[in-house]
Structures are given as C-alpha cells and as structure tokens.
C-alpha cells in the first residue's frame, strides 16, 4: 500500500481507538512493514503540526495517540464545564442575610427562622465562598457554626460585619411590638370567596 493511501486509514484508527496504539498492532492489521507504518504516522503527525490543528499526535514508547493540542486547553475547559452558571437565588440570599446578621449560627437555628430546611442553601453558600464553617457549638450534637467570609465582606466593600446596616434598636423594638400587637393579623388572612 502507498503511504498516501495509508494516511486516512491510520488517521481513522488513531481517532477511533482514542488511546495509545502500538505501531506493530497497526502494521499487523494493515499487513505492512513497521517502518512504513511509522513513516505514515510521522507524516500525519507533521501534517497536524504544520496545520496548527486542534488535534496532535504524540508518541509514547513506540505507541501513538491522538490528543488535543494543548493550545486550545483553555477553550476545552470552557466547554467542558460550561452549563454551570452560578446564581444567588432568593433562598440563598435570605439564608445569607440570616447568617450575616446572626453569625455564628447553626443550621438548625437558620431553619427555625426560615421555617424550612437549609442544607442545600448553606452548602451552596459555602461552595460560593460567601459562608464558612466557624467550628462547633459546645452543645448536644456539637452542631457546626457558620459565619460569613472575608470574601463576603469584600464583595460589599466593607471591612467587618459591624459595618452591616444595623437593625436599629428601635427597629427591633418595633418588630417585637408589631409581633405582639398583630400576631396573626399581619399575616395575610386567607379569605376564600
């Protein structure tokens, strides 16, 4: 077989095999001399290099493999991990505000305030680097305490949690007052017509 005829065949073989393929294996399959096989692979390798292709052919110890050109690595990362979009949902934001104002706080305390489980929200906030574990509370079950991170402060351009807008004493008092006066009425009352 002419080397030119060999090129597409070897190209297809290297492509379909994915991993490394020994020269002798290819030569046997095509019933050609090992030398001719190497020559063909090297021709192909050079062609890819000359064309600055996204595919390269590399040699490991008498075996060849097709791989991606390292130059496009960055784009490969972009595509491999693309569908991941981070978003701060309402649930996350609420949980974050509770942790910010009530830290150090345990998950069960957060749940008590929000009325729903917060496992997912807290672990997301930890993943985003906005919240971190602060250690364990010295209480039954030794629950983990959570607080905000420096990154959290930095994203607001403040240097400490004391700079968070206060829930002023009067404001807090108002809450209590309201709660006492209106418990049950401030809630939307369900009226079905």
């Amino acid at each position: 077989m002419e080397t030119n005829e060999l090129l597409p065949i070897i190209e297809g073989i290297l492509f379909a095999m994915g991993g490394t393929v020994e020269v002798s294996k290819i030569a046997d399959a095509l019933e050609i001399e090992k030398n001719q096989c190497i020559e063909a692979i090297e021709t192909l390798k050079k062609k890819y290099e000359d064309e600055n292709s996204g595919i390269n052919i590399v040699e490991f110890d008498g075996a060849y493999q097709m791989c991606t050109n390292p130059d496009i690595y960055e784009y490969l990362i972009r595509i491999a991990k693309q569908p991941k979009r981070y978003a701060l949902t309402d649930v996350l934001l609420e949980t974050l505000s509770i942790i910010a104002y009530k830290q150090p706080i345990t998950k069960s305390e957060i749940e008590k305030i929000r009325g729903v489980s917060c496992d997912f929200a807290v672990s997301k906030l930890v993943e985003y680097g906005l919240v971190t574990e602060l250690g364990r509370l010295d209480a039954p079950g030794r629950p983990m305490l959570f607080g905000t991170t420096e990154d959290f402060l930095r994203s607001f351009g403040v240097s400490s949690i004391e700079e968070l807008p206060e829930l002023s004493a009067t404001q807090i008092e108002e809450f209590k007052q309201e709660a006492e006066n209106e418990v049950g009425y401030e809630t939307p009352i369900d009226v079905t017509i």
């Binding site: 981070y86 974050l96 505000s97 994203s155 009352i189």
Partner: protein, 250 residues
Amino acid sequence: MDINFKLQVFEGPLDLLLHLIDKNKVDIYDIPIVEITDQYMEYIRLMEEESLDVMSEFLLMAATLLDIKSRMLLPKEAVNEEEETEDPRAELVQQLLEYKMYKTISYELRDRQMDATKVLYKAPTIPPEVLAYETPVDLEVLMSDVTLNRLNEVFNQVLRRQDSRRDPIRSSFGKIKKEEVSLEQKMEWVVAFAKAHNTFSFRHLLEASRSKTEVIVTFLCILEMMKSGQIYITQEDTFTDIIIESKIAA
C-alpha cells in the same frame, strides 16, 4: 389454489394481505375481495395456535374482509346522483397502501443502518483535570445585585415572616383587647381608600387592621361595596391575594 405458505410468518393481517395480493398478482387498488377473503380465511384456519392476541388481530381483519365482501355482493342501492357510493374496499386499500409504504421505507432504513455501522465514533477523551475543573465563582457577578441595604431588607423580611408564622391563636392569648370597630367608620375609610386607588390588594388593606374584628369589618365593607358595584374583585386561585379594582377611583 394451493395454500402453501403455511410456514411463512406474517407480521400481521396487513402483511398477510399484501402477501396474498402479491401472490395473486392483483392490483392493490382493485382487490378481488372474494378470492382474497377466501384465501385469507384459509390461511387463518391453517395458522398454528398462536397467542390469543395475535389470533385476534388476524380475526379482526377477517371480519373486516367478510364485511367488505358482503357489502360488495349486495346489490347496489339506487345511487343518489349527489352521493357517490364509496367502494367498500377504499378504507382497506388506503390502509394497505400506507402500510406498504412504511414497509418499503423500512427496507430503505435497513440499508441506511448497514452503511451507518461503517462509521466509528470516539469516546470522550477529556483530560481528567479538565473534567475535574470547577468554574471559579465570580463573586462580583454573583453579588452584583446585592447591596448592603438589600441584604438588610431581606433580613427584615425574613424576621417579619418568622413573626407571622407564630401560632396566631396561642401567642395572642390574653392580649386581645375588646375593641369596637364601627362599620360606618370603616366603610368611610375603605371608600376613601378606593377613591384614591385604582387597584389594590385585599391583603394590603388588611395590614392596617388592628384586630380580628377589624379584619372582619373590613371584609364586610368589601362585600358591601362589591354588592353595590363600587368595586370589582378578582382572585387568581384559592388562598391567593384578592385584587380589588375600584370603580369609584378619581
């Protein structure tokens, strides 16, 4: 005619019919229904005991064929000029044609499939470090909408909601003051509100209420105004807020 297709397996009644049509070299558009029906019935008699499901499909077609046969044997009724009598075979012909078409197509597809197997694909070879890669979280983007004030606001909302979740009956025991709310006064107030607002929410209206009695009175006012056509209300769903449209708004 000899029935020598005993061993042949047909996929269904239509398949068998097509076979008989081919075998008799007759035209699908003009099936000699008497002959074909006889052959079909003969085939069914020779069919080995198949499952009930399979048999019933063949029998259903037999019934159809017999029906067509009998209709064709009947003397034609005097044909109304405007109404052409339909060939009793028409529906079956249509069905046979459609089936034959898909059968033909399926052979074509089989060829395609043969060709397609000559193509090999490659398993993904994404470098493990790329696979393991996690997009870094861009806090600037993530937090772009979040200001300190918003955070504060959200927290306030959370606290309010927490309060409102308290058991409204238990936690208010002993705190309800007897309080007279006059319907007239409330009515005046609600009418004034309705004059100032085109549309407003019922819940919003209740927020100003100080007691259960007041809530009830407000509700009565709304009912009254509805009745007199001063307002018009809509509610999307049970337990959702009631939207009030004011007809007396300035």
